[in-house]
């Protein structure tokens, strides 16, 4: 049995260690961004006393004449077309309430939900009574954002066979600002597991299903035991993602894969969700060496 007890070590910011040249303009609420009135106000700013003041804590971004402040730690703010992974919290009359790490619970209407087998028909009263048979409290689903209401609540839909209820796997919750926007968020990694990078920060790691012919939206739950080799891959991926998150690195398929490959020669799996800071640093330095392309690095705010 393994038992690791140690004294706490103060964390050094990553940018200091690697000597980054680009200094981010970090602000806190109330800081003046600029006194020049020629700029357009973007998100996270407001005009007060002839100057532009920040309303959130984050880094200032400027695109031509638009100044906005991108918050470092925030709840998920829905945009149409995002892929999210959510957990059902309530079953209501004609809809489900889904928790997606945003300010308000998201809504999944019964009419936006795929019926098992991919049927297309009008939802009847029997469907309404059988709602709990489809999705219960605690179930995990993958869905796409259909619309955003005026109060910020998000309306989801699972109108494609690749969305729906999720089966066996591991959920990792990270900050939404660390998930990079990409063309596709469903990745089948070559190491043997698949991952769904939800834009709301919920990351779902699951064993790659063998039969890909009919994706029935996950209603046929596969509760067979997952093999030991797949479990090792999933646990290693989970620890890699958590170590990337502690170093505030963006998450996308290549970054996770590089981290996984860098961790392979190390001791099987570290005891605990957070590997020791030494491994963290080593992995992120190796990762930076591999990724010579800097545009991605300059996009993320490092603390």
């Amino acid at each position: 049995m393994a038992m690791e007890m140690r004294l706490p070590v103060a964390r050094k910011p990553l940018s200091e260690r690697l000597g980054r040249d680009t200094k981010k303009h970090l602000v806190v609420p109330g800081d003046t961004i600029t006194t020049d009135t020629g700029f357009m106000r973007g998100h996270g700013t407001y005009m007060g006393e002839e100057k532009l003041i920040a309303s959130v804590a984050g880094s200032v971004e400027r695109v031509n004449k638009l100044i906005c402040v991108k918050a470092l730690k925030t709840r998920y703010i829905g945009e149409v077309g995002d892929i999210v992974v959510g957990r059902i919290t309530e079953v209501q009359q004609k809809r489900w309430k889904v928790e997606t790490n945003s300010r308000l619970d998201s809504v999944l209407l019964l009419s936006s939900m795929n019926l098992p087998g991919g049927e297309l028909r009008r939802r009847s009263a029997e469907d309404e009574l059988a709602m709990r048979g489809f999705l219960q409290e605690g179930d995990l689903i993958s869905a796409e954002v259909q619309a955003v209401f005026s109060d910020g609540a998000v309306s989801l839909h699972t109108r494609s066979l690749k969305y729906g209820k999720l089966g066996q796997g591991v959920l990792v919750q990270v900050s939404p600002s660390l998930v990079k926007r990409q063309k596709t968020h469903f990745h089948d990694l070559p190491c043997g597991a698949s991952v769904i990078l939800g834009n709301n920060g919920f990351i779902w790691i699951y064993p790659t299903p063998e039969h890909k012919e009919e994706e029935a939206g996950g209603f046929i739950a596969n509760l067979e035991p997952v093999s030991l080799a797949d479990r090792e891959v999933i646990s290693r991926l989970r620890n890699c993602i958590i170590s990337l998150v502690t170093q505030r690195m963006m998450l996308y398929d290549t970054s996770i894969l590089y981290c996984y490959e860098a961790s392979l020669p190390h001791q099987v799996l570290s005891p605990g969700p957070l590997p020791s800071s030494l491994i963290c640093e080593l992995l992120c330095c190796l990762f930076r060496d591999n990724m010579h392309i800097s545009p991605i690095l300059s996009q993320h705010p490092s603390v």
Binding site: E4, M5, L7, P8, T89, G138, S235, L274
Partner: protein, 291 residues
């Protein structure tokens, strides 16, 4: 206790993983998460410790005050425990929500210290029947990430190790009135011997096996747990079953053996860490809460 909702498939995944001795984060059934211990973090206490076990964060402060000994034990001092579940740990603890859990943990601490050998209470006596030291042990739950009892017992032991009680002398006048004199040197103090202070090992039954140091997700899959309080020599001082499920007498025996084995290693690691911290001396860099 804070709890997470899980889907059926997630629970099945966790249960099968425990069966194969490979948990979600890669640990075996008898592995602990990485523990961070730091003592002397609160300056206005006689002793303090902070323990981080995964996402569980506990802060313990010990204050030594003068009081009168209890009537049935006139030659001994005593310990008083108080557990505060702060609302920042989880929204369920807001208002009076955390009181139930707090009293449960405090009662468990009273039980495990309720024997003659855990702490030598005679060292806390100043003058029999009149004055004694009372150690008020305050536990603050900062964050709840599963396995509260273990983390709290580790923090209490580390805080008691760190406690420095000022040395006092009782002077008698000719008329017989007693005066208590504090020593001039602020570093002249008595330390408690924590050799026999027990630590709690929680064993959760998941499926047909049991695990040590369960996370919140694993606790949601387990119906019954056994809390075993073990000293560094492997002696069990107290045992308690929690949860609404039932336990087989054979599994209770197995869990107790595992608890004794794991407890000895836990004590050895804790001893080495606190001694190492003390050997760094007063010049060590304190990380505290801003690290």
């Amino acid at each position: 206790m804070a709890s997470v909702t899980l889907s059926e498939a997630e629970k099945v995944y966790i249960v099968h993983g425990v069966q194969e001795d490979l948990r979600v984060d890669g640990r075996g059934r008898e592995d602990y998460r990485c523990v961070e211990v730091e003592t002397d973090v609160v300056s206005n206490t006689s002793g303090s410790a902070r323990v981080k076990l995964g996402h569980t964060d506990i802060l313990v402060g010990v204050k030594a005050e003068m009081g009168t000994p209890k009537l049935e034990k006139p030659n001994e001092g005593y310990l008083e425990f108080f557990v505060d579940c702060s609302a920042s740990a989880t929204p369920e603890f807001e208002g009076r929500g955390g009181d139930d859990l707090g009293t449960e943990i405090a009662n468990t601490l009273y039980r495990i210290f309720n024997n003659k050998s855990s702490v030598d209470l005679k060292t806390l006596c100043i003058s029999p029947r009149e004055h004694c030291w009372v150690l008020y042990v305050d536990v603050l739950l900062l964050e709840c990430g599963g396995n509260l009892f273990d983390a709290i017992s580790i923090a209490v032991k580390a805080a008691l190790f760190n406690t420095r009680i000022p040395r006092v002398r009782v002077l008698e006048d000719e008329e017989g009135s007693k005066d208590i004199e504090l020593s001039d040197d602020p570093y002249d103090c008595i330390r408690l011997s924590v050799e026999n202070v027990p630590c709690i090992v929680t064993l959760c039954k998941i499926g047909y096996r049991h695990v040590v140091d369960a996370t919140l997700q694993e606790e949601a899959c387990s119906l019954a747990s056994l809390l075993v309080s073990v000293t560094s020599k492997g002696v069990v001082t107290c045992m308690r079953k929690v949860g609404k499920g039932s336990l087989d007498p054979e599994s209770i025996f197995e869990m107790m053996e595992t608890g004794k084995r794991v407890g000895k290693v836990l004590h050895a690691s804790l001893q080495s860490v606190v001694h190492k911290e003390e050997s760094l001396g007063p010049k060590r860099q304190k990380v505290g809460f801003l690290g």
